[in-house]
Structures are given as C-alpha cells and as structure tokens.
Amino acid sequence: MSVDTLLNDPRMKQFIEAETQKQRFHALVQNLSNKCWDSCIDRPASKLDSKTESCLLNCVNRFIDSSNYIVRRLDKQASVSDVSEME
C-alpha cells in the first residue's frame, strides 16, 4: 500500500491529524515540564508542596504569556515595517 493511498483515505487523514495534534500537545507538555522543573524544583522532596505547585502553575501561565507577548510584539513590528516600506 502506498503512502498516497493512506493519506488520501479521508478517515485515515482525520486519524493522522488527530494523532498529530495529540503528539504536539504531549511534546509541549514534556517541554514545559522540563523548563518548569528547572525553575521550580530545587531538591525533590517526599511530597509536592503547595508552594512548588503554585510555582509550576505560574511557570506554565507565564510561559504562555511570554509566547503571546512575543507574537504580538513581532506582529506589531512587522506591521510598522510594512508601513515604513510603503512610505
């Protein structure tokens, strides 16, 4: 069976897209876990205390904020340079 046949099958396409999405989510969570582990965990304790938990929570949310901020700023800069190119 060729890859073409595979990818042209509509149900297969749907399946691959869903799996890709799931894998992307998993990779992001893995990546974020590693980053936030580094910034929040000093010495592994016998229990995850509430201070560490809120650090992890903040870490995830600030990472997404940073990502959003960077996208917005780049977007703004791009539109500014578009305007200056037109002048």
């Binding site: 590693n34 936030c36 592994p44 304790a45 995850l48 938990e53 995830v60 997404i64």
Partner: protein, 92 residues
C-alpha cells in the same frame, strides 16, 4: 513504507486495513512518548541526585532517584492540567 501484507487496493482501503494501521500508529506513538518521558526523567533526576558519581549507585542516590521520579510525574501532571485549562480559556 510497508504497513503489512494486505493487498493494495486502488480506491481507499478496507476497514480491516485501516484498523490495523491505526493500531500500529497508536502503539508506535505510545512507545515514543514513553521513551521521551524516560529520557527527560533520567536527565532531570540524574542531575538532581547523582551530583558526584561514585564507584556505585549508593542507597541515598537510589532513594533520591525514586523520590525524584515521583515528583517528576507530579510536575508533569500539574503542568498538563495548567496547560489544558489555559488552552480552554484561550479558546473560549
């Protein structure tokens, strides 16, 4: 790429072929994810627990590794939940 010995068909594929391939893909994805988890966990916990490698893995280091593994999983759970709820918020 070979996905088994089923005969090739010109138009689409039968449901048996499809199920078979989906199962294989799911299994391969699961194996890959476990490998990724193992790699990260080993990396992080080795750094925390085996700071000066001796001639053997001592019992204190093993204890630390065991605890670290549990905390790494806790960490992943918190991150997964935080990320999912943030995604939901962003989408609404």
């Amino acid at each position: 790429m070979d996905f088994g010995s089923s005969s090739p068909s010109s138009a689409g594929m039968d449901s048996h072929q499809r199920e078979n391939i989906m199962g294989q893909v799911k299994q391969q994805v699961a194996v890959m994810q476990v490998q990724q988890l193992l790699e990260s966990m080993t990396d992080k916990c080795f750094k925390k627990c085996v700071t000066s490698p001796g001639s053997s893995l001592g019992s204190a280091e093993q204890k630390c590794l065991a605890m670290c593994m549990d905390r790494y999983l806790d960490c992943m759970n918190v991150v997964t939940q935080a990320y999912s709820s943030r995604l939901q918020k962003e989408m609404s």
